[in-house]
């Protein structure tokens, strides 16, 4: 979220209701990572290592230059994903109990269609690379000294949408170029209600509400080159350019000691500064049954006084595809998803969590004459550190894991 929010929420809440800060420094759907839900029927099974493959509608998202090499003249593809995320902040509740967050969301996270027109290929795609729905109802008895009961009701909806056209064309037999222009929309709504009943009968109540939305465009330029037989190299560059952003928050605190109610409202139109992304990929096609691919993605560091600095991140993905027979293919992948936040220092407060993730993917596809059906899994996990309490130097260890089950179809006609 942002520094502006941290200051307000952290200073009001105090140590009893530590989670008032959690909306600012922690995340499930996840501006602190760049690879949250893998996109694409083949690509998601190959750990997202697809920049040098991209010869189907998923290429609209990974590397538009690749759609020139789609094997059929007209192809559509869609993916539906069921995503579970789990994050455990060790001793996150007042230093005694763990705080666990879970999200389950079912989202149609990709649709793409490509079609040759004239000398080139046009396409249109829709992608949801990040989606979280949290709905938590926690009721703890004696969670900490002096607190007899602690109730948290918590809801968070957070989605990123990309939608837009693409165009690609061959420069010669071995080189193609392409571009995608995504309309970018990010929407998030966060509501947290927390009630702490103390041993002496008094109580403290916190209600926190955030609503964020931003609009922009994300142009992506790509090229695909085959320097030698059976080898393809892909390269893309993209950057999200925001033209509108809004953030509204409301914090209501009823203090246990003074019994006074404080209401704090704020609005902001500051825009997040987005990194430049450059991805280079290589794909090796030794036979018609085997495909090996690798992507290296680099995200630039950003200096953002309002929403926090981001460090430069480099992620690597490896993927493999193997056909057991013409009607059955298996895919696997491994990928890193490193945090774009600095590592936490013991001497500072209000730091954003830092968790580096490692992911695995696998899928199986059944082909018929004109269509395919894919079932796949993505699993990512990692350990890191976070600061839940605003204004405090306390640091919590965090473990997180994410499982996505996806079903995808494609059809050529």
């Amino acid at each position: 979220m942002n520094t502006w929010t941290n200051k307000h929420s952290g200073s009001v809440c105090g140590f009893v209701i530590a989670l008032a800060f959690c909306g600012a420094g922690t995340a499930l759907a996840d501006e602190y990572h760049y690879t949250n839900i893998l996109i694409g029927e083949r690509a998601a099974g190959m750990g997202g290592a697809y920049t040098a493959v991209s010869d189907d509608p998923s290429g609209l998202f990974y590397n538009p230059a690749g759609i020139v090499y789609a094997p059929s003249s007209n192809i559509s593809a869609s993916v539906n994903a069921y995503n579970l995320q789990d994050k455990n902040y060790k001793q996150g509740l007042s230093g005694l109990s763990d705080w666990k967050r879970k999200s389950t969301t079912f989202v149609p996270n990709f649709f793409g269609i490509i079609q040759p027109v004239g000398q080139g290929v046009i396409g249109f795609s829709y992608a949801v690379p990040d989606s979280v729905t949290e709905d938590q109802d926690l009721d703890l008895t004696n969670p900490a000294s002096g607190i007899s009961r602690y109730i948290i009701n918590f809801n968070n909806d957070d989605r990123t949408y990309k939608i837009g056209p693409s165009y690609a064309r061959a420069v010669n037999d071995r080189l193609s170029v392409g571009a995608t222009l995504y309309f970018h929309y990010w929407a998030r709504q966060w509501i947290s209600n927390q009630l702490a009943i103390l041993d002496n009968g008094s109580y403290q109540h916190n209600n926190t509400y955030f609503k964020t939305s931003e609009y922009g465009v994300e142009p992506m330029l790509g090229m695909m080159w085959s320097p030698v037989d059976k080898l393809a190299l892909g390269l893309t560059a993209s950057k999200t350019l925001l033209y509108s952003s809004s953030l509204a928050s409301q914090l209501i605190v009823r203090d246990a000691t003074t019994k006074e109610i404080a209401v704090t409202k704020n609005n902001s139109s500051m825009k997040r500064i987005q990194p430049l992304r450059i991805t280079a990929g290589a794909a090796y096609f030794p036979t018609s049954k085997l495909l090996l691919s690798m992507d290296v993605s680099h995200f630039s560091a950003t200096q953002d006084a309002t929403f926090g600095n981001r460090i430069a991140v480099t992620n690597v993905a490896l993927g493999v595809e193997y056909y057991l027979k013409p009607t059955l293919a298996l895919r696997g992948g491994i990928y890193t998803d490193n945090a774009n936040t600095p590592k936490l220092l013991n001497s500072l407060s209000n730091q954003r969590e830092h968790i580096d993730l490692l992911g695995l993917s696998a899928s199986v596809t059944r082909f018929t004459r004109n269509s395919s059906l894919t079932l796949g899994l993505n699993y990512a996990s990692g350990d890191g550190r976070a600061q839940l309490v605003g204004g405090s130097n306390d640091i919590q260890n965090v473990t997180t894991q994410s499982l996505t089950v996806f079903m995808a179809t494609s059809y050529n006609y």
Partner: protein, 280 residues
């Protein structure tokens, strides 16, 4: 790294790739083809396809020498719509299928290589609905998708193995090759009108045709129903039986296919009214 450096790096990589691409030796359209796509991607050369089409055109011309075209534009358009809808589900996207109604009472249909399909007016008159028309057309399309005549006569393009069949003849303009081409066409016509294809090819066309019916949404029993019906017609027995396996064997084989493949429960469409409108 600053944005300018990233952009410069990307630009440099693009320029390097553009320059190097001039000297590249690779065919990405070829090595990218996955084994699952080989069924829908051409598994023959461009020359082979051109040879098949040219050869089929020659055979079609001979058929026009025997029968005249039935002069009903609306009916011809309708038969083409039904046929091309079926062909869209077949695995020969490189061919443009064309369907012609022949002005004869003979009950028969013919498939020429390259996508040229003929059906007689006599055959149409025996049909009860559009599904039966689709069944017959699907059987003929299957002969083309399975390349029965192409394989029987070993039709190849110019670049094919010179030792194989009539290869090279379609790329040459010398008289001997014209004669060879003409003789090959004669053989194809002989197959269509006198000796027929192998029995196995006919059974395969029945099977693939019925599968095509199901893929397109028609009643899977349509072809079988039609065969059972015309087996009782002496005019059909005289012509079709000479070039095809006996009707009872075909009907029995299709019954077995429908049962084993679980097609019994599929309620495909028949479109009787639409068919009747065009036959009036």
């Amino acid at each position: 790294m600053k944005i300018r450096q990233h952009v410069a790096l990307f630009g440099l990589a693009c320029m390097t790739a553009l320059g190097a691409a001039h000297f590249a030796r690779a065919n990405p359209e070829s090595f990218r083809v996955r084994v699952s796509q080989e069924t829908v991607v051409y598994d023959v050369s461009k020359e082979d396809i051109e040879a098949e089409i040219t050869f089929g055109r020659g055979v079609a011309a001979r058929i026009f020498g025997r029968f005249s075209r039935y002069d009903d534009e609306a009916l011809t358009r309708y038969v083409n719509l039904v046929g091309r809808n079926l062909a869209a589900h077949a695995n020969r996207p490189e061919l443009s299928f064309r369907f012609v109604v022949l002005a004869t009472d003979t009950i028969n249909a013919y498939a020429c290589p390259g996508g040229y399909i003929f059906i007689t007016r006599g055959a149409l008159e025996q049909m009860s609905d559009e599904a039966e028309l689709a069944g017959v057309l699907a059987h003929e399309i299957a002969h083309i998708t399975q390349k029965h005549i192409v394989k029987a006569l070993n039709i190849h393009g110019e670049k094919a193995d010179a030792a194989a069949g009539i290869s090279h003849i379609l790329g040459s303009i010398a008289d001997p090759t014209r004669v060879a081409f003409s003789q090959a066409v004669d053989k194809a016509v002989d197959i269509l009108f006198n000796h027929g294809l192998d029995k196995a090819d006919e059974f395969e066309a029945d099977r693939v045709g019925t599968e095509l019916l199901v893929l397109t949404g028609y009643d899977p029993h349509a072809l079988n129903r039609y065969l059972a019906k015309i087996s009782k017609k002496s005019k059909a027995r005289e012509t079709i039986s000479e070039t095809h396996p006996p009707f009872p064997e075909r009907v029995k084989a299709l019954d077995r296919l429908i049962s084993q493949a679980g097609l019994d429960n599929i309620k495909g469409t028949r479109f009787k009214e639409r068919f009747d409108e065009h036959m009036d």
